[in-house]
Amino acid sequence: MNIIVALIAISLSLALFFLGLFIWSLKSGQFDDPFGPAARMLFDEKREIDQYKKNSLPSEMSRL
């Protein structure tokens, strides 16, 4: 009997974890543009974004 209660607790928390993941992905704008990322994948050369992010983003931008 106790094992069922334990299993329920595990399954529910696992489900809650995925719900949390979904809410995070929604809030962080991953569903805003359904076409763009699929196309962007095909572009070849590096756009040196990481470099740009490291160097030129002012600290205040983190609020955006």
């Binding site: 009997m1 529910l12 569903f31 805003d32 543009d33 359904p34 763009g36 955006l64």
Partner: protein
Amino acid sequence: MNVKVASQLRCYHCGDTITTAQFKQEEKSFCCFGCQTVYQILKENDLCEYYSFDSSPGINNSSTFDVHYDYLDEPTVQSKLLQFNSPNFARVQFAVPAIHCVSCIWLLENLNRIDEGVLLSKVNFGKRTVTIDYNPERIALSKIANRLTSLGYKPVINLQAKQDQHLLTHDKNLILKIAIAGFCFGNIMLFSFPEYFGLGSDEGFLRDTFSYLNILLAIPVLFYSASDYFTAARRAVLQKQINIDVPIAIGLIALFTRSLYDIGFHVGPGYLDSLVGLVFFLLLGRWFQSKTYASLSFDRDYTSYFPLAILTFRDQKWTSVLLSDLQPGDTIRIRNQEIIPADSILESEFALINYSFVTGESTETAVRKGENIFAGGKLIGKPATFIVHKSTSQSHLTSLWNNDIFQKADEQTYQRTIDRTARIFTWIILFIAAASAAYWFVADSSKMWLVLTSVLIIACPCALALSAPFTYGSMLRVFGKYGLYLKNADVVERLSSISTVVFDKTGTLTSGVSDVSFSGELSEEEKHGIALLTAASIHPLSVLISKSISTEASGAIENFEEFVGEGVEGIVNGCFYKIGSAQFVGAIEIQTTALPRVYVSINNEMKGYYSLNTSLRKGVGEMLDRMKNINLSLVSGDGAADKKRLTNLFPKNAELKFNQSVHDKLNHIKGLQQDSAKVMMVGDGLNDSGALKQSDVGLVVTDDTGVFTPASDGIIHGKSISNLDKFIELGKSATFILKLSFIISFIYNSVGLSFAVTGHLTPLVAAILMPLSSISVVAFATASVNYVAYQKRMLL
């Protein structure tokens, strides 16, 4: 010279048919100078990969004129536009309707390779926007806007853009609510199953665990996901009205309190699965109905058409001044293709004004010094200076917006079928609930509360509430597929009651494209000469003529001269050409129609004239013939030149009005409505905006959904105007399907009520009956809408 081959050549940049061979570079042909320029820019910056994703991905750049973005560098403008601003970092978001393919994304995200100051640009394809991070010390905002324009991606600048953000979060909230309701629904069902299959009496501990977990899971659904229904119901009750939300809110409360009671006193497992499933389905319906066209805007007023800022002479120098700060007495400078933003007086010697915005008539008016010019006119040709004598909001055109119709709140007094039905429904349910409670009070008072809550639970009109969103939502999607984009689902219902359709002429029944025909005789060589001369002129009529002559025009013109407002002259191959107005060429004009004519003489010998005629859109005649049950009428800003052609087109009883001003059009609609007609207005321009707003359904016709359209209930693609009658019939079918769905949900309700009043409503019955009714109504509505649409066989 092979003309046939030339006409089949396609522009390497935009894919349009090439009509002249003037624009060539490295074996690649272009249709116009604009396209070639874009190619050059890309070539210089090693960005020709642009052409590798799609063939001919570019946007035709021939109509792109000089747009002036100097005002973007004004701090007041920037404070409204920039999302973030600091001395060496700024972020701006532009709407770019021209974004249409993978190449567009690629090019716009590589802007930093063309302009160094751009740090990062990111495209949102769904919303057609590009967000640009840049360094204001190294590049001005106006430069970025100019660069986008020169590449063919003209940004649409709207100082109210920040409001759109709000709408977006609203959409996200709905999805969040659905996600939570769906999550809880799934888990509660899981915990409820054992109960339905029968738990042994020795498993009381498990039963309690499941029940309390269910309550925990139902709480966020009731208080977060379903919160909109409670607020809407409360608002309705406070206004002493009953809408569909009232019985839903009553049902939800009955479900929850009854479940708490059942679980608390160990009577049964409660109805929490039904409650949460109900909310989940209702929210799904709301989401389905909220289909919006993110890249279209239905709420534009005149300010979207006017420039945001204007060059004004102040403090001894020319500065950009925001339109709202423009004062009477200011001297302003307007450039080619810019719109005059306020009623003013011409100070330059001469100007050519196109009033097509205001009147719908697409011919130019010549204006001389000292004459009055109305706001909304577009300057063609050389820059000119004007003196403002009325502020923008007081101008002739914009005074329309002071009309009552524009002051009214957007929510109309229109009574939706669903709310009418809901009111009757609610009273019936309350009556049945009271009657059965009274009966059981006498017969077996211990069962009274049980029966009362059971009635309220089963009567919760979930299926009823779902019929409208799914019927109209599906119809909205069908319409969208065939080029009619409606503002929201309510418009479908209003569409079904239309009894009168009023058309505008220019741009609505006729397309912007003109037929050019020559009356007289011309040899190939002479045509060639005319094509060369007209290609050298920027006048819109010249452009039309040179486009209509499909010949490989290249050669030299000597002594070329353009006389503004009159015509052009020049020598080609030793022949002296004069092309222009009758007076200029020296012809005797026989004015039979108001259609513009362009006369041609070669070596001072009259050759004939080009006449320009706007062509009717395809299928318009047949469409008007099919609209037998609907009163038709026409209001046109143009003169009666086309009257004969249009009289043949319309049925005999149709009312055709010409020379109608903006206000006349509005009053025509008002007049029809006073005779209790439900009026649909189909128009295209700013000059129809009053009528569009006044009508019950206002549709705007456009050939390019990327361009500005005035405020309306829907946008219809020019190609689809011939389907208009079918759209109206489909709207009627939708209302019929809605009524059938009501009947289905009533049948389910009666079955459920028979369980409830007799006191036999168990949680299991509720858990089966309620989702079943919802799903069958949704399936019926969606399937039948798609079926009737398929039956119509619409053309596109």
